[in-house]
């Protein structure tokens, strides 16, 4: 029996122009990669799509000469597949797919995502309670938390506006959240809406 060529050797051969090596690589890892994708998406067609996109990325990266992870071909491909699976679910969240069925339900397309009156009152109560709790925080932490959550600023913008480094802003955010949890725990406050 001919000894199997190592992945890294095949990758090198492929980069230097041997198309056959790619075929060996794809066939060698087909089962593992497609099983991995299928275990996450549970759909044969989507599995084929993601598998294809994964290898298109692999081919482009190898041909551009941007591949540098010697000897770790499979984990690298798995990571690409993993990222594409995440992209797939993100895309589906934004643009839900409708399963073709005879009993078409209009409420799957239009829905009332507003809270009902009771939940709205609870939400308002929570929001006002939370703003009182935030007042308890030290000023530097409060400032970062308000900018991040209420003004929706990025940590980069926060660091520019407050004159501290991004890491300091991140640290302050972290401590703000920890302290908020402490205050909530200490006073046995229940902040849920369900």
């Amino acid at each position: 029996m001919k000894p199997l060529k190592d992945d890294s050797l095949l990758v090198n051969d492929y980069i230097s122009g041997d198309e056959k090596s790619l075929e060996i690589l794809i066939n060698r890892h087909n089962q593992r990669i497609s099983s991995f994708i299928y275990s996450k998406v549970l759909d044969r067609d989507v599995t084929e799509d993601i598998f294809q996109d994964t290898f298109i990325k692999v081919i482009k990266t190898l041909k551009k000469g941007n591949y540098s992870e010697e000897g770790k071909f499979l984990p690298w491909v798995m990571r690409i597949a993993h990222n594409l699976i995440i992209d797939h679910f993100r895309k589906n969240k934004r643009m839900p797919k409708f399963e073709g069925s005879d009993d078409f339900n209009i409420f799957s397309v239009i829905g009332d995502d507003k809270l009902n009156a009771e939940k709205q009152i609870i939400k308002d109560q929570i929001d006002s309670d939370l703003s009182l709790l935030i007042e308890e925080l030290p000023d530097d932490q409060k400032e970062v938390l308000l900018m991040r959550i209420y003004k929706d600023m990025s940590f980069k913008e926060i660091s520019e506006n407050t004159g501290v480094s991004i890491n300091t802003a991140l640290g302050r955010m972290r401590y703000a959240l920890i302290n908020l949890r402490k205050i909530i725990d200490k006073n046995n406050i229940v902040l849920t809406n369900s």
Binding site: I26, N30, S34, Y38, E48, I56, I59, K60
Partner: protein
């Protein structure tokens, strides 16, 4: 007695990607040319 145990296929054996997809990828790989010029790299699909 020996027939009591069923030889059920492993339900966890997921499907492999079909030969069409693999053929497509190989054809794509053959058709793709990357041309580098300074810091740019251009992708070309040669049919």
């Amino acid at each position: 007695m020996e027939k009591i145990y069923s030889t059920k296929k492993n339900a966890l054996a997921y499907p492999r990607v079909g030969p069409e997809t693999i053929q497509f990828l190989l054809a794509y790989s053959k058709a793709l040319r990357i041309v580098k010029h300074r810091q740019f790299s251009f992708e070309m699909i040669l049919n």
